[in-house]
Amino acid sequence: MAHVELAGISKAYGAVEVIRDLDLAIEDGSFTVFVGPSGCGKSTLLRMIAGLEPITGGEVRINARRVNEAEPIERGVAMVFQNYALYPHMTVEQNIGFSLRMAGLSKSAISQHVAEAARSLQIEPLLKRRPAELSGGQRQRVAIGRAIVRQPEVFLFDEPLSNLDAELRVSMRVEIARLHQRLGSTMIYVTHDQTEAMTLADKIVVMRAGRIEQAGSPDDLYEDPANSFVAGFIGSPRMNFIPAQLRAGRLEVAGSPFTAALPGADGPIQLGIRPEHFTVGEGAAGFSLTVDVVENLGGTRFLYGTLADGTTLVVEARDRPGLKAGDVVPIGFAPERAYYFDADGARIRKAH
């Protein structure tokens, strides 16, 4: 188990700086997820922790020991790759045992450890097969087996589920969560899928363009986003942003009687409301929504529609069967569920 610290980390490829002066502490035994759009530097960060990518500036510390120059094996990290990176010429058994063989363990010790790892992942019947004979999910299990067999201090996952189909992705997600509970090791996980981040993480680190936008528990990020980027990234379907104006300390939205007292200078701002925080129906007036598409998920349904000024909205209408495209419905929301962002996307907190 290990505590990982990133202190003033930066990474540059020539003149291009992809990560700049980044600080982060990852607690012992935590499940930390780096999430962000592609190109935000999350994978690069993970690879710097792994020792696969040289560090341009700053320090990576594992258990308070500087590891910038250490080989991956000395850092005590194991990694699961996006496309599994199983050795094609080795059987499953050899793949899982390879790191132990490199560490010079005896044959009997290796086969004992491999058998244990295989049992815990339920891949014992596959041990004699080669990667080419396995399905995607099985390959992913083998890749995880290869990581756990070494009993590493830190597990690193680089988008491990993105090559799996949707159903398998959900079940593997649960399995990774279980693995974390069972082993209690520090795990760092990279993904661009906010659902994976929300469901797996103790702590989510939202990144954009090489910087941390916000780090915190999934609930913190959902309830209290620091800016419109985080607010839009966390939550599914994503938060609605409605253009508004701030005039003399009051918010005004075109086509709605809704208003709120806000601090800040006059100018354009954004009103953010999550789809699940809207209520549909008479008496809940806030806006009038023209429904374009109704997406029925069985348990719930989402309305995709437009406001009078053309702003598109997604609204959850859990208990409103019978709505169809073309309907115009009044929608409203509880004011305490609304978020406000200035023109640059920074959160405006209401003065109480």
Partner: protein, 273 residues
């Protein structure tokens, strides 16, 4: 006529193939007929008799067996050295970082444009200085060295598609540069390495220029063949046998391994493509 080649293609290919086969047929026929019958051409049927006397006499007349053994040694050693060193060099050039990597690669690959004939005189002087004339090394070193130009190029090209994650996974699993090469890169690079080996074997087996210049006492088959043909004896039958003995090995190698030339990359990380 789906699934069948048109008649004229078959005919054309057949004619070309026949043209190629005629000389080989000629050599075989010449080797089993007495020289007196074939002085006007092996196709003459004035008098027809078959004899294996040339096949029996040639071994005493010329040191054919020794030459065969010498050729096998030279081609074998040059092939093994190339098959071991080429993937190592290609791996280093492709995956490792060291000073002057690019420059060195350019120099080696550019040896491609350098014909053998250009280096024979400086090499001869060098071998004479070093006392390596009539030593196997005098031909093995250039065989292997000059093969690097194309062989490294070929294997490095293959490595372009080699999944980098495998190298990284090996690093995570505790491999250094050498163990990564041995355990991960080499086992997945066998098809280009065998292709390189086959080509190198064929070329070194048939090599004439270097051994003719640098070797004296133990010479390989192509050199012996030139000596056999260089005499004024009426020895068409013996020459034919020597030629067949010289050609048969490359022919068999090619027939057995021709699939290797066509085989492509077998390397997969296990990802769905």
């Amino acid at each position: 006529m789906i699934g069948r080649a048109p008649f004229w293609t078959t005919a054309l290919v057949g004619i070309v193939a026949l043209i190629w086969i005629v000389p080989i047929l000629g050599i075989v026929v010449t080797s089993i007929r007495p020289p007196s019958e074939v002085t006007l051409g092996w196709w003459r049927l004035d008098q027809v008799s078959f004899t294996l006397s040339a096949w029996q006499r040639v071994w005493e007349a010329y040191p054919l067996a020794n030459a065969f053994w010498v050729t096998a040694q030279l081609a074998g050693m040059a092939t093994i050295a190339t098959m071991l060193l080429t993937p190592a060099a290609a791996y280093a050039f492709h995956f490792l970082k060291f000073p002057f990597r690019r420059l060195l690669l350019i120099i080696i690959i550019n040896a491609f444009v350098l014909p053998q004939q250009v280096v024979i005189i400086p090499l001869f002087q060098l071998w004479r200085e070093l006392g390596l004339i009539d030593n196997f090394l005098s031909v093995l070193i250039p065989y292997v060295g000059m093969s690097f130009a194309w062989s490294i190029f070929l294997v490095k090209n293959f490595l372009e598609d080699f999944p980098r994650e495998l190298i990284e996974a090996a690093k995570i699993d505790g491999c250094g540069a050498l163990s990564t090469f041995r355990h991960v890169v080499l086992p997945n690079t066998l098809s280009p390495v065998f292709a390189v080996g086959i080509l190198q074997f064929l070329w070194t087996w048939n090599a004439l220029l270097l051994p003719m210049l640098y070797l004296r006492s133990n010479v390989p088959l192509p050199v012996l063949l030139t000596r056999v043909s260089g005499t004024y004896d009426v020895n068409w039958d013996l020459r034919s046998v020597a030629a067949i003995v010289t050609t048969i090995v490359p022919l068999v190698i090619f027939l057995v391994f021709q699939r290797q030339f066509a085989s492509g990359s077998q390397t997969r990380t296990g990802a769905k493509e």
